[in-house]
Subunit: 251 residues, 2 copies
Amino acid sequence: MGSERKKILYVVGIGPGKTSGMTGEALAALRESDVIAGYPVYLELLPEEIRGKEQIATGMTREMERCRLALQAAAAGRTVSLVCSGDAGVYGMAGPVLSLAGEYPEVEISVIPGVTAATAGASVLGAPLMHDFAVISMSDRLTPFEVIEKRLRLAAESDFVIVLYNPESRGRAGYLKKACDILLEKLPPDRAAGYVRQIGREGETAWVGHLSELREQAVDMFTTVYIGNSTTYISGARMVTERGYVSHAKQ
Amino acid sequence: MGSERKKILYVVGIGPGKTSGMTGEALAALRESDVIAGYPVYLELLPEEIRGKEQIATGMTREMERCRLALQAAAAGRTVSLVCSGDAGVYGMAGPVLSLAGEYPEVEISVIPGVTAATAGASVLGAPLMHDFAVISMSDRLTPFEVIEKRLRLAAESDFVIVLYNPESRGRAGYLKKACDILLEKLPPDRAAGYVRQIGREGETAWVGHLSELREQAVDMFTTVYIGNSTTYISGARMVTERGYVSHAKQ
């Protein structure tokens, strides 16, 4: 019996924070699992019943090690969930795990999507993502800064709504200012902008204002930043983008 | 008492299809509601207990009317959920509702995010969204085609992973082929690509292959299309993008 049991690794996006932001499918996978793997900060966000399970926790930069440990535990017959904040497939662990899949052919890998920070933060601000958008990470750990810079320029030229993940960290102070200065070469200073920090978590904060003011804001790796397109407007504390370039009145 | 009751309109993203893809928060809002508003096709995806409630259903193109009816019902004291497929803030109803908010100041509008098709479909294909990406709708109902064309070109030049929403419809036959031909001006024919149809619903189908083959595929408005960046690879039936431009071996 034991050897015939399916060997499963779930790669689970738990949404941005609170348990109620998790899908039923994600919660079911966590409940079914014997072992929970993940970055310690994310494991702390899980409900009590899940946190009590056996854990595989490694530091943030030891991601490939965490993936291997999770795959090894699954190969040994444990049902394992590897937990990611937001969606497992957006800058998450789904890619690294799948890159190792060939070494563990006996393990069935199932990626379970979650609400990503881009859309969760958007719901806090109003509706900034009503039209085409580009998601750009400001982290240059694995990406040359010139690539990030080029994407910012072309995204502005494309009139995309722009979402910045991981805008700054302790090692990357001043990156939001750099991003804003690049964008301000193409975009007007009064372009609508906003951010949400600690989305769906204790101490959630949100801000909306103009792009020229955004560059003065203090943000960190738990902040998601939005720069509107040419139709985005601020109404009270909300940031809303039109659904197209034709007035609603014409519908 | 009645006049002091909070007047609430939830704008709810129910995820791509199956009930287990809905967040706990979304399900709670639907349960709390007296009235459910939405496009009939999406209302049919809801669990039995929710479908039994009073409904406001209008056709797909009568969206502003649906928003007004939902706001009016909320203003009259009913708790209302306006349902959107995927995320309410991505090409959804959050924007139109908020654009009318000023006319119904007594109604508290709460946008509840959901898993959007981009990340739900990505989880079916593997992990195509591991790096920066652009989401583009092929619908030219409210957007001039020249804007769409420009975005496709610049997204390819930016080496974004590209996600196409609503690639074709009965009235827009041949649009995927047009998009591929524009992208093929910049991208190699063997660029990794894929699509998922009816994500999380009865009859879900997925395909991965090369960009040159993508242009021959039959898709519809219920299909989400992916075109990889320069690091995206196909492994078996999966489409995976690297997390950066530095080999994993260096981590």
